[in-house]
Symmetry: C3
Subunit: 366 residues, 3 copies
């Protein structure tokens, strides 16, 4: 695909400078860009790389002097990452899922396939399932009975969609994700040690020697509902609800290897980063951002606009707008103070010992 | 399925009250229950929701006044979650894996398929594998050579069972799980930096500049053995042993995205929650409960009846009956005290500084 | 396979002692070894087990007295785990992937399949893909268009290789791994709460009520490149780069359920243990070892020869040779001191209170 600098800038709603009729064939990082590629040098640290590559045109952040950088042309992107979204969308060669219904696909006679839908090799579509118009289903995906996939959805290779799962329009699901496994929900006939631990928070002595009890399964009769414009990462697993559905709101994005337990409800426009896990029945508000490897206990409520740094472990309810860090999670600024204090701790311990000696005239262990 | 209140109560061994011949068609949460659904209001927080829905009958915890709640009939469940297990089992519409052997399945002539087993589309079953009676194997699952699957087992779509893996009766494996990948076991010809770090626990200076060494593979000759009534979550991975087998005892349940390293032995009736990881050769006792995202070092021993809160990281042996929390794991009640102290830490640091000034007449950094 | 002690020792370059013409048929742990098996008793803790089993020959560490142990023959392995690599390689029965191209495989006419390559049932190979000589592709794997797999590579069942991914020679990929999912990269039209949180580190009050903004996708135009001799664990996910490629260097090994974000570059001969996660654009040096469940922030640089203990969370750049522990990561020896101090913390708090009373004549909360 050949585009002029002017055409690209117009598509982005951005300003074009210099030889705006210069043609480019693709995007590249500044250090490795060829003369026909558009270099992406929106952040300052990439500016010095421009001279290492051969780009004649670049996308720059506001305030960069394109002429001093030796460029023939430039596009000025006041919000660089937003420009990147537009640039990469324009240049994306597509999902790799071929058009049409592959001859090897096993599609139940009672399933309905929307106009223009692409179905890959060895796909299995169950009884009563519905595939939306122009949806694309990759190789080896399986769509359970009575499941529904929205229009323009992209279901990549090897994705597992369970029975009765409902998926909105324009949803992207990366390879290997499992939507609608059974919930992890078991109960013993009599009270178990874990119930006792929860009640006492481990206080007092160890629980009485446990009666040997086996776990009885609580079956998952609910399903999973994903809203429109949801994205699900590779090998992520979302369990079905027990009675009601597990739900993920419109526009929410989940990264790879995320674990969402049964009955969880996530609001809209959230970002749930890699390897986050939420135990069952937790409720997450709108626009929540959870950094990688965050963990959430079961049955808690996370308000709207909460932001948690990577590896934050959240064990209790969080009010809206709170920024969190640490394990257990506390307010981000408080945690920064705690971390600083922890690093000084071994030294302070010695100070306390010296004080103790001076004041009480004895060592700490006396 | 239509049942009377009386029939359901009898199946649960529970008490039925009021219009016990009232018929219901399914289960529902109180707020959304229709007039023909049985509302589940076993925990107190759901009682207020009954008036929002239209349920005429509900399952209630002991002590709830069904008449005051405006119900026509009620079932009293003294142990609510245990009742839920019975109720959901009764109402479960099944796995969605159709009966019979699908024409597309590739089954080695030397494999043995038990009576009544269901084999889904595109399943691959290797040489010498055995599938138990009434087992159900979902679409795209692969069963390695010489593997054995027990009676009434459910292997969901896309599960990977490696060669020689043995799986007990009534086991459930959720989609995408991998049982019998190779262990992660490598060695360098000469001592590696990680071995040095283990020996010194990072004490002293950085290790001498490493000789560039590549990792040589230790092959996994062992396999994996899952006992009866085991459940394995979606996309969980259990590695085969090096010489002996990796083993999981009867009745133990693993949640989604759990990682079990080579040679690990887990006892019976354990609950291993989402995203837990255990490094190789660790031994876990019976009835152990590990909350979500717990981590276990290699080559440690966890006693029976240990309970670890979510995100507990266990680096050393744990005696039986211990309740753990935190990273590194300590006794739960001790950890609660440490957490409290940590929150007060920045303030206490200032106190120590003031004391230092008062006692020694100088600042901490003097 | 029958081997004499002498043959095995010669293959390992190790010393054989005693009845070196004794024949063995396989390897076993000492406690369960039969009379025709070679017991592996290289670590001292296994020596006592020899008498429980029936082994007549064993592999022992340097300094063990084979005659006193009642053995007829022994192999002395001065570096036991390295010997284990050789022993298990010799005895490995193979991958279980049958030779030849299975009739059910769907191979695009424009793909090229190397001499001696094995292609399992239901494999899908896309347009323009190249499979190396003697590579083995397990059942249900999918290889995207224009992807390249090296010679002698082993791609296990259900692995997903995305379009344009390049994989080196002798690479092992365990079942269910996804190489080349889309990056997790989104942007809002205006500044988002997470950007604000990053800028302020949560300082000050909560951010202004968020304008409701949806996330726009940044497409992944790059791919993934795995070097020679790389191993990838079960259900691990490696995302493609945005513009450049995500790269993993020669000889680097990744365990199960690892998450590697877009644009990450990992050097050679690293060990990345189970459930490690790295956010996007992070750069990891050579010979780095990351214990299980480590987490890495985006856009940081980890030097060569860094070693991080299990569950270390790394939020900032790390110089070469550093040994790390804890969350947030600090030097291993410093962290050991911090952990010790934390355990003493509740007690020290009381001491400070007593000091405060003694010195200032008042309680801490006055």
């Amino acid at each position: 695909m050949v585009h002029t600098i002017e055409q690209i800038a117009a598509a982005l709603g951005a300003e074009a400078l210099g030889a705006v009729d210069l043609e480019v064939t693709g995007l590249a990082e500044p250090a490795t860009a060829g003369p026909d590629q558009l270099a992406l040098a929106m952040s300052e640290k990439f500016l010095a790389d421009l001279s290492k590559g051969a780009a004649r045109a670049a996308v720059l952040g506001a305030g960069s002097d394109w002429q001093a950088l030796g460029l023939k042309a430039a596009i000025i992107a006041p919000r660089p990452r937003y420009a990147l979204a537009g640039l990469t969308a324009a240049m994306d060669p597509g999902t790799g899922i071929a058009a049409g219904v592959h001859a090897t696909a096993v599609i139940d006679a009672r399933a309905r396939i929307g106009a223009g839908a692409a179905i890959g090799p060895f796909v299995v579509i169950g009884r009563g399932a519905e595939i939306g118009a122009n949806a694309r289903i990759g190789a080896h995906a399986s769509i359970g009975a009575e499941a529904a996939i929205g229009d323009d959805a992209v279901i990549h290779a090897g994705v597992r969609i369970g029975t009765r799962v409902r998926i909105g329009d324009r949803v992207f699901i990366q390879p290997g994700a499992v939507i609608g496994g059974d919930g992890f929900s078991f109960v013993t006939p009599e009270k178990s040690t874990v119930e006792m631990a929860r009640e006492t928070l481990g206080k007092g002595s160890a629980p009485a020697p446990a009666v040997s009890q086996s776990w009885t399964r609580i079956h998952s009769l609910g399903s999973v509902v994903l809203g429109d414009d949801v994205e699900i990462g590779a090998n992520t697993a979302i369990d079905r609800g027990t009675i009601a559905n597990t739900e993920i709101g419109d526009g929410t994005k989940l990264d790879n290897l995320v674990h969402i337990g049964h009955n969880v409800r996530i609001g809209r426009d959230c970002l749930i980063c890699g390897q986050v896990g939420s135990a069952g029945s937790t409720v997450i508000g709108d626009r929540v951002v959870l950094g990688g490897q965050c963990g959430l206990s079961d049955n808690i409520v996370i308000g709207d606009d909460v932001v948690a740094a990577g590896a934050t472990k959240i064990f209790s309810n969080v009010p809206s707008g709170r920024m969190l860090m640490g394990s257990p999670a506390v307010k981000m600024d408080t945690q920064v103070e705690i971390y600083k204090a922890m690093r000084r701790l071994p030294r302070v311990m010695k100070t306390v010992e010296a004080l103790q000696k001076a004041v009480f005239n004895r060592g700490q262990n006396d």
